[in-house]
Symmetry: C2
Subunit: 242 residues, 2 copies
Amino acid sequence: MRAPPLHVRIGADIEAQIMSGAWKPGHRIPAEHELMAQYDCARMTVSKALSRLATSGLIERRRRAGSFVAAPPLHHAALSIPDIRADIEAHGRGYRLDLLARSERTASAADRAALQIKAGKVLALRCLHFADDAPYALEERLINLGVVPEAAAVDFSAEPPGSWLLGHVPWTEAEHSIAAIGADADTAAALKLERGAACLRLERWTWYDAGAAAAPERITWVRQTFPGNAFILSAHFSARGA
Amino acid sequence: MRAPPLHVRIGADIEAQIMSGAWKPGHRIPAEHELMAQYDCARMTVSKALSRLATSGLIERRRRAGSFVAAPPLHHAALSIPDIRADIEAHGRGYRLDLLARSERTASAADRAALQIKAGKVLALRCLHFADDAPYALEERLINLGVVPEAAAVDFSAEPPGSWLLGHVPWTEAEHSIAAIGADADTAAALKLERGAACLRLERWTWYDAGAAAAPERITWVRQTFPGNAFILSAHFSARGA
DNA sequence: GCGGTTTATTTGTCTATACATAATAGCGCA
DNA sequence: TGCGCTATTATGTATAGACAAATAAACCGC
């Protein structure tokens, strides 16, 4: 077993103190020059270890004051939002897409609200994802043609719109909401469920924010509805920075 | 406006190239010595910028080969898992807890499966969270008394078990799953819903992993069921490392 | 005691250099 | 041609020192 780099070891030692509960939130961590003496190394090395812990949120650093154990980690989980086709194929099942509706139109009031635009053209899609010929998810999507004009020329009856967008359009921010709903008549018919059956509904807004230079632009809005019994989102959280 | 540090500026410049689409995935980023010449600075400064981009997943670095724009960002979102009491109170509503059942027992087969233990004692709780006297969530919880013996002495009819645990037990890992279910008779009665009403079900396993030194220990398992219409999980993702 | 000024401490950034490590590319030899 | 060795190159880690910036603490005049 090969020795890990020194700055990793220093970071791990401090992390162990915190995780074991020996150093509680607010506890002052030895100053850089003390750790420097303790590990007999340069300040840059100690600094690297502490900076990493600071960016991972485990400690907080203040000039002149020192470094302190941060407040207990918030309950933030890394949630994997699936690429539906990839997910289905990863389970060894056959994927099929059925494009139910496609309309290119001037944005309606509802479209404008979803994409947060004042005016413009949108591409509205409605499609059904199948896994081994069983309905897997109903997808309703709006694409802002003002930002992604080339989407108008794509044949979405073959490629899932989500996969196409991910591969072709850079984006920086996404907002999700997850809720449980009872299937309405429409949804129930599409997914071959009984009316009122529990479904997981995932909504996502994706946009591109170039920074202060330009206003953020909404790229797409999507609402995916999964039968509740067939779909589970999972998330993992580690208190360690990694 | 004060000038940002040089390593931040270098990182931002590279990020801008990637985000604008000018440098596509796989594109080779100028080597450290080239950036060094371009910005007229030391290699450490360039290295700091590139390391940060690498840990945030935007670029990939390989010895001898160089640094490359990484594959498009994965769809990972930071999901906020709520502290129920804090959430309710933050909305200005009154919180109340009703402890429906409490039993301290030797772990049953189901308990052992949920906590991944071979044997031992557990504390099983079942409680109902109220917001302004309306049922908000049904919680079923198991606490591993082998790891948290002091939980046996806590009065959970006043303090929500989740809040108590968060404040008293260090943990490192949590795994969540989210699903939509139709309320069974039991759940429907507790939450005052109709049978079959759509509910969001959140399950969470929390454990402590001290590293290679010891086997990970499961601390608690919890299953929270929320009326679908009253509860929405939200998540935000930024492609930037921050 | 109170408010403002100075001082000392600690972190933040950066330089310049050195050696280690990984991995590719090319060369020589069978 | 194909295999193995070597040289090259880019990154990874670390040193030692310097100055800048923030700010808590001490000080001082009133």
